[in-house]
C-alpha cells in the first residue's frame, strides 16, 4: 500500500505539492487527476524517490521512501510519462539490465520478458536486434511498461501510461491493470484522459495547484458534487467551467 502524509515540495517560491495526504490500499487502482501544473508528476517523483520532499512522508508498504530509498524502490515499478530509455541499447539489453538492477538473473528475466513480448505482441527479432532509438513511440512504451513490471512490484505507479499505445494494446493494458489489482497490487494511475481513468480506476484523487481537492469513488464524488460525469466534476473542481463556450467563441474568432 501507499501512505502519503503531508507531502510538500517547493520549487523556489512556487509550491508544487502542498501538504498532500493520501492512502492507497492494496488491490486498489487510484486515478490521480489534475490540470497541467497541478503537481501530479511531482507527487509521483517524490513517491518514487526521484525528488526529495521538503516536508511529509511517503511510505511504500510501510517502507519510508526518504530514509530507506533502496528498499522502497525495490517494491515499486514506475512508468514515467517521458517513456525515456537508453536509445543505443536494444530492447532486450535494456530489459536485462533493468532486471539485473533488481537482482533478477538473466535466466529468470528472459522467460518473463518473453511473457510480456507475447502479451504486447512485440516481435522478438526487433527486441534483440534493433536499438531502442529506432523503435516507434508505442513499442518504446511497451518496453518501458515491461521494465516497470518485470520484477513483480507490489506498487505500480503510472504516469500517462497509454501515451503512444495503439487501441488494442491500450485495451489489453487496461485489462492487465485490473488483473494486477485483483492480485493485490497497489496502483496509482496519473492521466489527463478522464474517460480512461473513469473506466479503469476504483477511486480518483483530483489535484489542483499542488493540493488534493477530493478523493473517492467516481460515482460518490459525482453524486456529492452534483456532476453528471467525471469530466463535469473535474472542470467544476479545477475551475475550468465554461470551457466549451470559450472554445466555441475562440473558434468563431479564428474563422472570422
Amino acid at each position: 500500500m501507499i501512505s502519503i502524509q503531508g507531502l510538500t515540495k517547493h520549487f523556489g517560491t512556487q509550491t508544487a505539492v502542498d501538504h498532500l495526504t493520501l492512502e492507497v490500499p492494496p488491490g486498489m487502482i487510484v486515478g490521480l487527476l489534475g490540470p497541467n501544473g497541478a503537481g501530479k508528476t511531482t507527487t509521483l517523483k517524490m513517491i518514487t524517490g526521484m525528488l526529495q520532499p521538503d516536508a511529509g512522508t511517503a511510505l511504500i508498504c510501510g517502507v519510508n521512501v526518504v530514509t530507506q530509498p533502496l528498499e522502497a524502490k525495490r517494491l515499486m515499478g514506475f512508468v514515467p510519462d517521458s517513456g525515456a530509455v537508453y536509445e543505443s541499447l536494444t530492447g532486450l539489453e535494456f530489459l536485462l539490465m533493468i532486471g539485473a538492477l533488481y537482482g533478477i538473473h538473466e535466466d529468470v528475466a528472459r522467460p518473463r520478458i518473453r511473457q510480456f513480448l507475447d502479451f504486447f505482441e512485440l516481435d522478438e527479432q526487433t527486441l534483440t536486434s534493433k536499438l531502442l532509438g529506432a523503435y516507434s513511440k508505442g513499442m518504446r512504451r511497451k518496453v518501458v511498461i515491461t521494465a516497470a513490471l518485470l520484477h513483480h512490484p507490489k506498487v505500480v505507479l503510472l504516469d500517462e501510461p497509454l501515451d503512444g499505445l495503439d487501441a488494442n494494446a491500450a485495451v489489453g493494458f487496461k485489462a492487465l491493470l485490473e488483473t494486477l489489482a485483483r492480485e493485490g497490487k497497489t496502483i496509482v494511475y496519473s492521466s489527463h484522459v478522464l474517460d480512461v481513468v473513469e473506466r479503469v480506476c476504483d477511486r480518483v484523487a483530483i489535484m489542483a495547484q499542488g493540493k488534493l481537492l477530493v478523493e473517492g469513488t467516481p460515482a460518490d464524488l459525482q453524486h456529492a458534487h452534483g456532476a453528471g460525469t467525471l469530466e463535469q466534476l473535474f472542470t467544476r473542481l479545477t475551475g475550468l467551467s465554461g470551457l466549451e463556450a470559450r472554445a466555441e467563441s475562440f473558434a468563431k474568432n479564428l474563422l472570422s
Binding site: T48, P69, L70, V85, S88, L89, T90, L101, L131, A134
Partner: protein, 263 residues
Amino acid sequence: MSTAVVPPPDKVLCALFWKLLFRGRVAQQMGAQKTRRQIGLGITLLIYALIGIIPAAFAVNADSFVFASVLHGFTFSFASLTLASNAGTMLFMKEEAEILLHRPVTPNQMLRAKCAVLVGFALLLALALNLAGLIAGLFTKGATWRFIPAHLLSMALLMLFSAASIVLVYNACLKWFGRERFDNLLASLQSLLAILMILSGQIMSRMLGLDTFKHLENGGVWLLALPPVWFGALDALIGGTSVNSSTLWPPAALGLLATGLTS
C-alpha cells in the same frame, strides 16, 4: 529458479555505461541495427596507437624528461579531448533520472560507475597513444629500463588527474549555471576544452627543441604550470634523466598532489 549469482548494481551500471560509451550517439542516429562495439573500440585504439608514433619519432635526440613530458602532452591533448567530449554526454544525460533514479540504485553508485568507466576508457586510450613512445623512450638520453614502468605509472596518474578534472569542471559548471543553461553551454564548453587541449599539445611538441625545458631552474619555472611536465618529471625521477633531478622534485610533487586533490 536459477541459483546463478546476479552481479551487484555497481557492476551492472559499469557494464551499462561502458556499452553506452561505445555505442554512443552515432549508434542512436544510425538507428536500426546493433553496432559491434569491439570493432569500434579496436579502430579507435588503432588510430591512437598510430598517432602515438608521431612523438615517438623524436625520441633519439631528446632527454628522457623532455620526451616523457611531450608524450604526456600528446596524451593530455588527444586522450583528454576524447574523454571530455564523451564525459559530458555520459555524465549529464537529461533523461537518465527517469530511467534509473526510481530503480534501486543511488546517485552515488551511478556517479562512481561513470567515473570508473571514464577512467578505464582514458587509460585504454592513453595506453594506445603511448605504446610506441614506451619503446622509443628507452633510447632517450639518460633513460634506463625503468622508463617503461615509470611512464606507465605516470601515464595512469595523468589520466586519473585528467578524468577527475573533467568531472570536477563539468560538475562546477552544472552548479554555477544550472541544468538548463548548462545543457546549452555543454557544446561550447566541449569546444573550449578541445581548443585548450590542442593548444597544450602544440606547445608541448615545440618544447623538444627548447633548452629552457631542460633547465627548469634557469627561467623555465613557468613550465611548472603545465600538467604534462608534472608527470614527465615523475617519469624522469624514476626512469632516469640527464636533467638535474633536484629541479624535478617540485613538479613531480605537484603532479601527485593535483591527482590526489582532484580524485
